[in-house]
Chain length 375, copies 3
Amino acid sequence: MYIRNTWYIAAEPGELADRPIARTMLEKPVVLFRTEAGKVVALEDRCPHRFAPLSLGRVIGERIQCGYHGAQFDATGACAHVPGQDLVPPRARIASYPVLERHGYVWIWLGDPAGATDTSSIPEFLYRSGDRGWDGGYGHFESIGANYNLINDNLFDITHAEYVHPESFGGEEMRLYRRSKPGTEYVDGEMTWSATERTIVFRMRSLNMATGGPFYRWMVASSLGRDSYPDPIDLDMEVSWGAPSYTSFLLNARPAGQPRETGVEVCNMHAITPESAASSHYFYRSVKNYGDAELAKVFVNGVRSIFDQDKPLLEAQQRRVGHVDLFDQHPVSFGGDLLQQKARHINRRLLEREGDDGRELGAALSAGGKARGSS
Amino acid sequence: MYIRNTWYIAAEPGELADRPIARTMLEKPVVLFRTEAGKVVALEDRCPHRFAPLSLGRVIGERIQCGYHGAQFDATGACAHVPGQDLVPPRARIASYPVLERHGYVWIWLGDPAGATDTSSIPEFLYRSGDRGWDGGYGHFESIGANYNLINDNLFDITHAEYVHPESFGGEEMRLYRRSKPGTEYVDGEMTWSATERTIVFRMRSLNMATGGPFYRWMVASSLGRDSYPDPIDLDMEVSWGAPSYTSFLLNARPAGQPRETGVEVCNMHAITPESAASSHYFYRSVKNYGDAELAKVFVNGVRSIFDQDKPLLEAQQRRVGHVDLFDQHPVSFGGDLLQQKARHINRRLLEREGDDGRELGAALSAGGKARGSS
Amino acid sequence: MYIRNTWYIAAEPGELADRPIARTMLEKPVVLFRTEAGKVVALEDRCPHRFAPLSLGRVIGERIQCGYHGAQFDATGACAHVPGQDLVPPRARIASYPVLERHGYVWIWLGDPAGATDTSSIPEFLYRSGDRGWDGGYGHFESIGANYNLINDNLFDITHAEYVHPESFGGEEMRLYRRSKPGTEYVDGEMTWSATERTIVFRMRSLNMATGGPFYRWMVASSLGRDSYPDPIDLDMEVSWGAPSYTSFLLNARPAGQPRETGVEVCNMHAITPESAASSHYFYRSVKNYGDAELAKVFVNGVRSIFDQDKPLLEAQQRRVGHVDLFDQHPVSFGGDLLQQKARHINRRLLEREGDDGRELGAALSAGGKARGSS
């Protein structure tokens, strides 16, 4: 069901500012808090005494104190103090989960603790910096009623934009992506993709777009301080996916004919952490290399309102899918699904490696190639 | 559980005016829509590609387009177009259900397709026309939390009116119905009933009603343009039930002593379509042969407010009944239940014919007779 | 699961003033009503005819009439009248539960009817009277989402007050209770406890309290007509617990050095009736021997607002505990749990006596003793 031996995003740093928070991940109830010294701690959210959630308690120095009877637990999950008695029962201990802060997020390891030292599952592409300062904002949806794979499919799939997001990402340029299979309707455009053991990246370039692309067009307009930009534009897009559930869209847009180096860039990053088989936490961030903090807010609100279009669809899809994994129900596949299926395949392989009952999606997909050529 | 080889009401025509609708019937998710050419289509509400409900999509000419990735399906359930590719996977096909329009409703057949050509399960009594034009309005309750048999019992049972609807249908005249069994308290009144293989009709006549019958009294008053009618009235009532879940009340009321032909008539029609074992769709219509459109609205709103009295009772009854059919829990029966039990018996027989595990309700009830005599 | 052969509180008398009420207890749906003659009756809340809840009907003289078809049931649960027929089917009968009124409550017996004559399970300590008139008010929480044992633990446990109710019961004086085990931090104070087969009483005395004890301090202030009382006070507390779920706090507070006889007294009484494995009814009353009706209201509202602090904690605790009894999940115990565990032990023994599958909590606790000495 869940890939356990991997790092997941547990929280935005800002969520831990003043009190412990409760978050169920991979069906485990976890309490997250920051100690007085600034260390982030993740513990089983259940006091071993009477099973009250520790997230209802409060932070006392380097420990969390249960809100019911005052027992205190340190970062290792050991009970360090019981009010009214000198001895602490040795069994008074709860699970502690490895956590770390990286790329502007708090990450958690819920698998075999021995593997936590390997942080290679934290994708580098979730971090953007550079000569021109990137800035932007956070946002997240707490508990969307859909399995993480369905959200994952959705994010690493630009072909739905034409139907679900016609007024933002949904221009015809999205159809280029479909060209990774024979029999396409649309022509032109440069698309390539490549894969490693747990990542897939594809790149597309759309030059001289005279129509469509409302969002890219708006990027150009806002960078020029205008309300709209009706003339042709050039667009580069790089979509990076990392197992099990990370997707990043790096966009470069500029007036047609200008060099790529002059384009303004936006990066929208998405991360899913499974809550249960049918619900997920979805974290997103939108950063850009131009404009001010006010514009940053506009962007992050934009990402939210776009995903607000997906949310009811995903939750309705989950109701139709039910309790059996979509891919075990033999859905029909289209040409545009190639990379999405490949991502599913990578996740299946990771599950199998953990001894989970993930079944093969079909013939192994080849590990990369030039999209145009492969058809 | 469900009688499948029968026609059910799927929708009011007006519901399909501008967009597809989703409706779960007999636990099957169905999307209903009207094509540009005016044809009504019912398909499985699940795209075979990623299982998104097609009801979230839109009608394009004679097809419905999935709102997620744009695949289009025709009236047969075949996928007719996949954006971005010339070939359509042959497996891309969903169930299509026979539909037809009759008696002012859209009907659906969810059973063995071979049987759909037989439309004899659509009861003629749901249609009223004649020399004097009938008119009236539609209404429906979407998803009442009760098994269709409980609602069916309720509709084909006028003895509850005295307790649940005292200010409308609930006068003493309702008690005449109880006379189909020995030991009645009430006297007088003419009541007969007759049955066929899947219908039951009973008729009663109440002459010179000096008190009670608020609704019938109001019919007379409104036909005369008065606010009330305090003098005695004559009433004929014909209640028709058709398996599995159709009930119609034909009422003729007039000042006492006037010939029946001069009476004003109202027909309230009720149809239940099972949604799940514990929930149902309830469609109703109230038509009459006098008065204007304004009065028609008053009538249809009246039917709703009367059923609003039944709804909480039915849902509470369902909670007490739970997951086992009421009649398998050996409820006590009263004299007034005769025809209701007979209707249950007909439905059981239809279930058995489909190979379902419906159990016999008890000794077979005789197929008709004169109520007065049978006691 | 449930101790059945015991008297439970079913309702406050005021709840039965004008109409029948529905209440599920020990998973049994029950209708409670007061007849015209003033007798309280408790019946199975399900008409044997069509399973409608009788609680939707109304009281007619000494009977309750079903709101669906008008059948009437007497206090024994026998159907006494079916409209429209002279004969009543002999099977038309529902369960009737013994009820009685005592100590200002309506009590119900849901176990083996033969045992209902023994009323010794109704704890005397829920009744307070005397030379100085006690008065006070009622309150209850309908359906708290927690097993009755969790609420029971909570009420018969003053050690949580320091963390959950710091501004009322939560002063350091509460820590004295912890002294029933070795290794305590706190000193001084007199505490003793004693137990019978189904009750436990403990008493503590805290003299010359210079700080803390906001509620006791406020008792003294309000008895003197002042807003606050900053000087030292003396406190006696007697906490009585009775199986399966009764707890009473008798408090005597006065300015330090005054004789106990001059102290003002408050008694807060708590009773839990299981609704289901994960929900309960909680009745409470606060009475006192001084002040007026206005002050009585302040007290009963105070009890509610204090329990409003426990409620979210208990419901969160229940979610963590899940469907297996907390004590079968081997929680860690602290010193302050001694009497709470003893109460659990008494309830287990009662369950076992009824043939229920209650498992032993551990070594049998001795039946009493002097707390100070026992460590």
